[in-house]
Symmetry: C2
Subunit: 559 residues, 2 copies
C-alpha cells in the first residue's frame, strides 16, 4: 500500500498528454485553447460564451473536518474522486484553486494533491502558472497608485487620507510591508499617510475575479470596490477614480480559466485562489460553470474545514452564481480525528480507537451542519499507512450512526483504483437526486441576524458579541443598500470557536466580532472574529533558502 516515490518524483514521472488532447475530450477546439507551454492552456472567453445554453452537469463539493497539523488531504481527495469518476466511466472534471507564491517560498511547500492523486505540471502550478496572480497584483496596485495620484493632483473626490481602506498587495510573505508610512520625501512624493500591503490572495480583486460571471460583471464589480471614505463618511469607489476599465484590461486574460490535467490525464480546471478567511476560499465561478457545461460531474473543493469553507461555498459562491451542489464529500483522516480527540502530534503513530471515537464528534457536527443546506453528504476516509482496521471501523460505525456512510479511499497510494468505491457512492447519491440545495439564510435577513444565524447554526455558539460600533456599521451599510449581501466569516479554521485550541465539537462558547469590513465589489460583508493575518511573514529558515535548480535542471526544494 505504500510507494517509495515522493510527490514530486511521481509528478515528474507523469505521462502528460498535450493539453489540446485534454481539451478535445471536453470538446474544446484547439483555437479556443490558449496554450501556456505544452501542458497548460486557458479556455477562451469566446468559447465559454458559446456554451450559454448548454445544460449543466452535477456539482460535487469536497470539504473536510476542521484542519489539524496531521493533514486531511482535501485537494488530494478532490483529485482522487475526479479520477475515480472517470475510471468508472463518467465524464468528470475537477476544479481547484491556484497556489500563492508566498507560502511556497515560506513554510509550506507547494502542492496540487499528493501521491498518485495530483494535478500536473506541479512546478508551474507552484510558480507563476499562467500569470493570473501577477495580473491581479498589477490590477490591484494600479488602483492603489491611482488613489494616491488622485490625492496628489488635487483630491477632487475629497478622499479622507485617514480613511483609505484599500491597501496594496504583493504575492510574497513580507511582514515588513504589513504596516508602512508612504508618500514620504516631500512635496513631489505626495501626502504622507499610513498604509500597508496584504498578500495577493487577500485582495478584493482576487475575490471579484473568482465571483464574476463574465468581463462585464467583472468590470462592474471592480467599479464597486470601496477604496476609502470622505470626511462625511460617504464611500469613494474605484469607479469614482476611473480605474475600473484599466483594471479589467489587466485582468482580461486572467479571467479565462486554466486547464491542466491529473496524473491520470483527466481534465482539471485550476483557477483563482481567494483567501478562505477574509474572502470565500473557492476557485472561480467561471471555471466551475465552464466545467459544468463540459462534463457530467464536476468535483470541487472549498478552503479550510466545512464550518468555514463549505458554508461560504454554499452561502456566497452557490447563492451568487446560481449553483446547486448535488452531493458533498467530507474528508476525514484517522490521524486528524485522533487530534480532534485530544491526541498530540507525537501520539499519532499509535493505535488509539478511543481518541478516534472522541474526535468523531467534530466530523458528526459537520455532517449535521451540511444537512442544513439540503445536500446529501458522504464521508471519505483518506487512508494513511499507519491507520489500523479498528480505527477505520470506529469511524465507519460512527458515521453510520449519523445516517450516512464513510468510505475508505486509497487514492494517494493507488490513484483512481483507490476511489472507485467513493465515486460509485457519489454517483448513486447524485442519481437519486435527493439534493435540495438552499443557502442557510435569506438575502433579506438583516446583516447582524445573518451573523447570528451562522454562529448559532454552524458554530453552535450561544451568542454573538459585538460592540455598538460594529452594530451601527452594519446598520449604516444596510441603509446604504448593502443589506442584501451575504456574510464572509473570518475566524480560525482550527475550531468551531474562535479559539484554535478548542478541537472536537465544543459548546457553550460565544462568537466575539472584532471588526466588520465591506467588500462591495466582491459582494460580501467580512466579519472578523479574532486575529486574522492578511500578510504572512517568512519563518526563521524560509524554504526559499533551499529552493534551487539542480545540476540536472530540476527545481528542488519547492515541494
Amino acid at each position: 500500500m505504500t510507494h517509495s516515490l515522493t510527490d514530486i518524483e511521481i509528478a515528474r514521472a507523469a505521462d502528460k498528454k498535450p493539453i489540446q488532447e485534454i481539451g478535445a475530450r471536453l470538446g474544446i477546439p484547439d483555437e479556443h485553447l490558449l496554450p501556456f507551454g505544452h501542458d497548460k492552456a486557458k479556455v477562451s472567453a469566446e468559447f465559454i460564451a458559446s456554451l450559454a445554453d448548454r445544460p449543466k452537469g452535477h456539482l460535487v463539493l469536497v470539504t473536510a473536518i476542521n484542519p489539524t497539523p496531521a493533514g486531511e488531504g482535501k485537494t488530494t481527495t478532490t483529485v482522487g474522486l475526479g479520477d475515480g469518476l472517470n475510471a468508472i466511466g463518467k465524464s468528470a472534471a475537477i476544479c481547484i484553486r491556484e497556489a500563492s507564491l508566498g507560502p511556497c517560498f515560506g513554510m509550506k511547500g507547494g502542492a496540487a494533491g499528493g501521491g498518485y492523486a495530483q494535478v500536473v505540471p506541479m512546478e508551474d502550478m507552484n510558480l507563476h502558472f499562467t500569470g493570473d496572480f501577477h495580473a491581479i497584483t498589477a490590477a490591484h496596485n494600479l488602483l492603489a497608485a491611482m488613489i494616491d495620484n488622485h490625492i496628489y493632483w488635487g483630491n477632487a473626490q475629497e478622499i479622507d487620507i485617514r480613511r483609505i481602506t484599500f491597501r496594496r498587495v504583493m504575492d510574497i510573505n513580507d511582514r515588513a510591508l504589513r504596516q508602512i508610512v508612504c508618500n514620504l520625501g516631500g512635496v513631489a512624493n505626495g501626502f504622507p499617510r499610513e498604509g500597508g500591503f496584504d498578500i495577493t490572495v487577500a485582495s478584493e480583486v482576487m475575490a471579484i475575479l473568482c465571483l464574476a460571471t463574465d468581463m462585464a460583471d467583472l468590470e462592474r464589480r471592480l467599479g464597486d470596490i470601496i477604496v476609502g471614505y470622505r470626511r462625511d463618511r460617504s464611500p469613494v469607489t474605484c469607479r469614482d477614480l476611473k480605474a475600473d476599465g484599466a483594471m479589467a484590461v489587466l485582468l482580461q486574460q486572467a479571467m479565462q480559466p486554466n486547464l491542466v490535467q491529473t496524473l491520470e490525464n483527466n481534465p482539471a480546471f485550476v483557477h483563482g485562489g481567494p483567501f478562505a478567511n477574509i474572502a470565500h476560499g473557492c476557485n472561480s465561478v467561471v471555471a466551475t460553470t465552464t466545467a459544468l457545461k463540459l462534463a457530467d460531474y464536476v468535483v470541487t473543493e472549498a478552503g479550510f474545514g466545512a464550518d468555514l469553507g463549505a458554508e461560504k461555498f454554499m452561502d456566497i459562491k452557490c447563492r451568487k452564481a446560481g449553483l446547486a451542489p448535488s452531493a458533498v464529500v467530507i474528508v476525514a483522516t484517522v490521524r486528524a480525528l485522533k487530534m480532534n480527540g485530544g491526541v498530540g502530534k507525537d501520539g499519532l503513530g499509535e493505535e488509539n480507537v478511543t481518541a478516534v471515537k472522541k474526535g468523531c464528534a467534530n466530523l458528526g457536527r459537520h455532517i449535521e451542519n451540511l444537512k442544513q443546506f439540503g445536500v446529501p453528504a458522504v464521508v471519505a476516509i483518506n487512508h494513511f499507512v499507519t491507520d489500523t482496521d479498528a480505527e477505520i471501523e470506529a469511524i465507519r460505525d460512527y458515521v453510520r450512526g449519523q445516517g450516512t456512510e464513510a468510505i475508505l479511499c486509497r487514492h494517494w497510494a493507488e490513484g483512481s483504483k483507490g476511489t472507485e468505491a467513493l465515486a460509485t457512492k457519489v454517483v448513486q447519491i447524485v442519481e437519486q437526486g435527493a439534493a435540495q440545495f438552499a443557502p442557510l439564510y435569506p438575502d433579506d435577513m438583516p446583516l447582524f441576524e445573518k451573523i447570528e444565524c451562522i454562529a448559532k447554526r454552524i458554530y453552535r455558539a450561544d451568542e454573538v458579541l459585538a460592540d455598538v460600533k460594529v452594530r451601527k456599521q452594519l446598520r449604516d451599510w444596510e441603509a446604504q443598500g448593502y443589506g442584501h449581501l451575504p456574510i464572509c466569516m473570518a475566524k480560525t479554521q482550527y475550531s468551531f470557536t474562535t479559539d484554535p485550541n478548542k478541537r472536537g465539537a465544543p459548546v457553550g462558547h460565544s462568537l466575539p466580532v472584532r471588526e466588520v469590513r465591506l467588500s462591495a465589489g466582491a459582494g460580501f460583508v467580512v466579519v472578523i472574529c479574532g486575529e486574522i493575518m492578511t500578510m504572512p511573514g517568512l519563518p526563521k529558515t524560509p524554504s526559499a533558502e533551499a529552493i534551487h535548480i539542480s545540476a540536472q535542471g530540476f527545481i528542488e526544494g519547492l515541494f
Copy 2:
C-alpha cells in the same frame, strides 16, 4: 504616402502566422517553442544550449540622435530594417526590449514600432506579455523580504539597517512608494526603517537577466547582488542570505527569450527591458546571441540617444557578451533635428532648412562618436509626412560631409518597401567587413578615469566634477575587486550635457557626478549625474482612466 489607419488598427488587421511557423523559419522545432497563446512563444533553454557551436550572424545596432518630444522612431526603424533585410532576401531577425506596464497606464501609451513597421501582438506586448517582468518583480521582492526577515530573526549577518541599499520594485508608476518607512506596527512586524520602491525596469535583477549568458551565470550574478552593508562597511550579498537559488527558480522561465513576429511575419525576439539610465538599456544577451545563431542578420536597438544607449551597448553589453556589431544605423528625423536646431514644438510643421542644418550638429557628433568604437555608421532619415525635400537634402548633404550616407526611409508608411535602400546599404557595409569593434576604454582603467573617458570623448565635457566622497567610494570598490567593471552612466537623455535643455552639440560644459552605485550582480558601476527618477509618478489624467474594453471586445486607450 500617408495611410489613414492608426497603429493599433494596423496591428489588429495583421495577418499573423502561427508562432510555430515563425519558429520553423529559424529552424526551431515545435517542441522547443513554449507557446503563450498562438502568437507568442519562448525558445527553450535546451534548444539554445544546442546552438553553442554554430557560427554567429551579423549584428546591426540601431541608435539615434538625442531624443526630443518630436520623436525619432528607433524601434520603428529597427523593425523596418529587419523587414527590409528580409525583403531583399536576407535571413534577418530583430531583437528589441519588452515594454513596462508602468508607463502604459501613465503617460506614454504602449507601442512596439509604428505604422507598417510594428511587432505584433501589440496588446499583449504592452500588457503582461509572457510574464517576464512579473517574474523579475517576484524574484526581486523575494530577496527584499528575505533581507527584512533575516534581520527580524536575529540578523546573523549583522546588516546595518541604515545601510540597506536594495529596495523593492513594482511595475507600476507609483510615487507614493518612492520613499516609505516599513516594518511599522510593533515587535511582530520587525525593525522600522526607511525603504522604498523603484519601477521594475530599474531592478538590478532586470539588468542581470539581460546580461546573463545562461542559468548558471544568472544564479551567480544574483548571488553577487549587494543588498546592503554592515557597520564596518563590508558588503552583504544576496548569496549571504541564500536567496540566489530561489530567485533563479523564479526566473527560469523568464530567462528564455520570447519570439513574436513583425507585421510582415518576420521573426522578432522581444526580451528584457532594463532602464537606459541606471542600467544599460538593451534587450537580453540571451535573445541577441540566440538570434545571431539563427539568422544571418540581427537588428537590435539601444535605449535613448547614441551618447547613452550606443555607448552602453558597446561598453557594457558587447564587451561583456563578446559581441561585435558590424554596422550602426543612426536614426534621425527632420523634426527632431529641427528641435535640436532650436525650433520649439509649435514650429515643427513649417519648412526650416536653417534649423535642420543647425540641428545636424547633434547628428554629426554621434557619427563622430561611433567611429571611436570602430563600427561603420549609416544614417536613417525616418520620414514624416511634413518633411520637405529641401530639409531632407540638407541632412543628406551634411552627412555626406561626415563621410557617410543618410538614407530616406519610409517604413512607417510602406513597411519593408520603405527600407530596402537602407537594408541594401547595411548589407554592403557588413559585406565590406570594415568593422573593427573595440570598446571605448579597457577593463583595467581606474574607475574614475573611465568616467572621464566617457565624459570627454562622448559627451565632450571639459571635466568631471566629483567630490572626495565619490572618488573615495570608487577607490574602495577598486580595492574590493570591482575596479574592472564598466561604467553605466545615468544622465539626461535629452542632451550631451546634464542639462536637458542644451540640445545640439554643446561644448564647454562639465559633468557633475552626484552619486555612484555598485551593481555588483549586473556587473557595472552606476554613475549618477543629475536627478534620476527610478520610480515615475502618474500624470494628472493617467491614460489608465481611458483604458477599457470596448463593446466589441477590443482593448481601447492603451496605445
